[in-house]
């Protein structure tokens, strides 16, 4: 791992121009113009410091102090992936290694009339106008340097289109693997998912790292949820002690649609998840569940936005964390209720167990309400294990460590039970059980 301090911003901008110089005609495409605008935005914003309100508790200095290979080749095969212990399942499984789609490892089983699944690069070759139109559509106004960076640099990701009135039976599992066995690697996938009217789908993004070098993942996912659609979207992070992860999921919901998000951070050095949901329809409901277990000196930051723009919709949010050692957690939950969004119901709750005096949790609910006929509530708690419950269990013969892990597992249960892809939920239950038992 390189220890010299470098100027990552300058290096990235130089790289962009170098690549652009050899692009020939493609440089004038709509797609590339969007990327160029992304670069300009990034150049203007620069990497955030802790002086930035949205980054007050999450310092990226360490993340940007080294360089990463964003084009690293990987010889990874299924044999190595078996070690990653995600159970086999009846699902569409798509592998991305160092940010690039790997068709040899992937399996697509859902019929094409129900769903179009392809890599962003393939989709662009096939229909450049369509991909260019959707690309960065939802994130175009984002005031976030990492999203702009992704826009400028993304090379691949998933492009999913589900027509109207389709119920996609098999879930879609996107597995992003960083192969950091030999060097510091970076990847910036962009996922674009569009779910048609009255269609249903379940999907998960799972992030893993191989090897001990650094990995930096900067992922952006845009999800269009059309009228009456039902989307279950999960993000599972089980990365290495040297994994840096910044992710933004941007969702737009239309009338009478349903969206469920579950964000589970099992492991990783530094994690920042932005989940931004725009409820741009009436009678929608958005659900956000989150869970995180930092230990050592890990850092997990969840920023969420429920932006109510139309009347009669509901958002419901529950985030939970267990913090150990010298770890740090951050939760910032914004609820906007725009002037038109009368009869909005918005609920938010963040609950944490802090097991060590050196661990810390910063929570900040932020409600901005511009309509008068709304129901909003928020609450955060940060505490220790319930001693009375612990004694109760011990008085029945359950040893202290076993009682602790049962109680902690129970604490997580109402989030874990929301994960509706069975194999993902079972995987989480296993990993969480091991994690809780190991301390």
């Amino acid at each position: 791992m390189s220890t010299e301090t470098i100027d990552l911003k300058t290096r990235l901008i130089t790289d962009f121009h170098a690549r652009e110089a050899v692009m020939n005609g493609e440089a004038s495409s709509e797609f590339h113009q969007k990327k160029r605008a992304g670069l300009a935005r990034f150049e203007q914003l620069g990497f955030p410091t802790i002086k930035h309100e949205e980054w007050k508790y999450s310092n990226v200095r360490d993340l940007i102090s080294v360089s990463y290979d964003f084009n690293a080749e990987s010889s990874i095969g299924l044999a190595e992936l078996e070690d990653l212990k995600v159970p086999k399942q009846e699902a569409n499984i798509l592998y991305f290694v160092n940010g690039r789609y790997n068709p040899d490892l992937s399996t697509i089983i859902s019929p094409v009339e129900k769903i179009t699944i392809s890599s962003l690069a393939e989709a662009y070759k096939h229909d450049p106008a369509k991909v260019a139109a959707h690309f960065n559509e939802l994130t175009k106004d984002a005031d976030d340097a990492f999203t702009a960076l992704n826009t400028a640099f993304t090379q691949d990701g998933i492009f999913i289109h589900i027509p109207d009135n389709q119920s996609v039976e098999h879930p879609i599992i996107l597995r992003f693997v960083s192969d950091a066995r030999e060097k510091n690697v970076g990847s910036q996938p962009r996922n674009i998912i569009s779910v048609g009217k009255n269609s249903q789908v379940k999907m998960a993004e799972a992030f893993r790292t191989l090897g001990d070098q650094r990995s930096f993942t900067n992922v952006v996912t845009e999800i269009h949820v059309a009228e009456e659609a039902n989307v279950q979207y999960y993000k599972v992070q089980n990365e290495s002690e040297n994994a840096y992860h910044i992710g933004t999921t941007q969702v737009r919901m239309l009338d009478r649609s349903h969206f469920y998000a579950g964000t589970v951070t099992l492991n990783g050095k530094f994690t920042r998840n932005n989940l931004n949901i725009v409820l741009d329809g009436e009678h929608c409901d958005a659900h956000m569940y989150g869970l995180y277990f930092p230990d050592g000196t890990q850092h997990v930051d969840n920023h969420t936005v429920a932006d109510h723009q139309k009347p009669n919709s509901e958002s419901n949010e529950l985030y939970k964390g267990i913090l150990r050692d010298k770890s740090k957690g951050v939760f910032n939950g914004k609820i906007f209720v725009r002037p038109d969004a009368q009869k909005t119901n918005a609920f938010q709750s963040c609950k944490n167990i802090v097991l060590s005096p050196d661990a810390s949790m910063n929570t900040k609910p932020q409600l901005e309400i511009f309509a008068d006929d709304v129901k909003c509530s928020h609450g955060t708690t940060t505490g220790q294990i319930d001693e009375e419950a612990l004694f109760y269990m011990r008085s029945r013969g359950i040893s202290q460590p076993e009682a602790m892990s049962l109680l902690m597992f129970a604490f997580c249960a109402d989030v874990v039970s929301q994960i509706k892809i069975d194999s993902v939920r079972e995987y989480l239950e296993n990993v969480i059980t091991q994690k809780l038992a190991s301390k």
Binding site: G397, F409, A413
Partner: protein, 252 residues
């Protein structure tokens, strides 16, 4: 079976138990009565190993073992059971899963193999029947949203499953209507045997109509000030505690 000798205990520097002496033999039922604040629940808690209390003197021998140095889970494994006055609600842990863990942890302590799922379920169903516990409660989170009566019945059910040698019932009658009280008492009585003993801690006599004690002890200001046969409970019911207090003050 149980021998409490000059037991003293305090919480936050305040002495609550000021020298308790009590002998309990197998098969016996002892009632511990007394006015509020006399130290009844403290005694139950100290025997079960609640850590907020500091034992400042004396000892407790159970089946030949000093238990004050044992962790709560070790005491449970040795055969002591405390039915809580306020059973704790534990969301996310089902009653059945909780009990399975408890049973197998105790078996592990004794060097026995864990029960498999089928053996455990069979045993649990029998015990549930014994205390008229509805099967559906077993699958629900432990005590969560249970009525007062259901919580107390769940305590007795757990006791039936764990089969302790010594059961300590801490104000098990509080908050129960007469029907619930009778069901709970029937459960306790059905578990009585010549090998097992029970300590019933209660403020009121009415539970003792159903669980008839061999001995009644009056606890006042951290000491057992009077002991007698079951009729003592009736006398207390009739005359209240003032005459006991007066007697104690007179001896002073």
């Amino acid at each position: 079976m149980l021998s409490i000798n000059d037991l003293r205990a305090s919480i936050e520097g305040k002495e609550i138990l000021k020298g308790i002496n009590l002998e309990v033999k197998p098969g016996e039922v002892h009632a511990i009565m007394g006015p509020n604040g006399s130290g009844k629940s403290t005694l139950a808690s100290v025997l079960a190993g609640r850590e907020e209390y500091e034992v400042t003197g004396g000892n407790v021998v159970f089946e030949g073992k000093e238990i004050l140095e044992l962790a709560p889970e070790e005491r449970a494994a040795e055969g002591i059971f405390l039915a809580f006055q306020y059973p704790v609600e534990i969301p996310g842990v089902t009653t059945i899963n909780f009990l399975k863990t408890a049973v197998n942890e105790i078996r592990k302590y004794k060097g026995e193999a864990p029960l498999d799922a089928a053996q455990f379920l069979k045993m649990v169903r029998e015990k549930a029947k014994l205390v008229s516990m509805n099967d559906s409660l077993l699958k629900r989170a432990l005590n969560e949203g249970f009525s007062g009566g259901e919580k107390k019945r769940n305590e007795i059910f757990q006791m039936a499953v764990l089969e302790p040698k010594l059961a300590i019932l801490d104000e098990t009658d509080s908050g129960l209507d007469i029907d619930a009280l009778r069901i709970v008492a029937e459960g306790v009585n059905s578990l009585r045997s010549p090998e097992r003993a029970t300590i019933v801690v209660t403020h009121y006599q009415r539970l003792l109509d159903y669980i008839v004690p061999d001995y009644v002890h009056v606890l006042y200001k951290g000491r057992i000030v009077k002991s007698g046969p079951k009729e003592l409970a009736l006398e207390l019911e009739e005359k209240g505690y003032d005459w006991i207090k007066a007697e104690v003050e007179a001896v002073g």
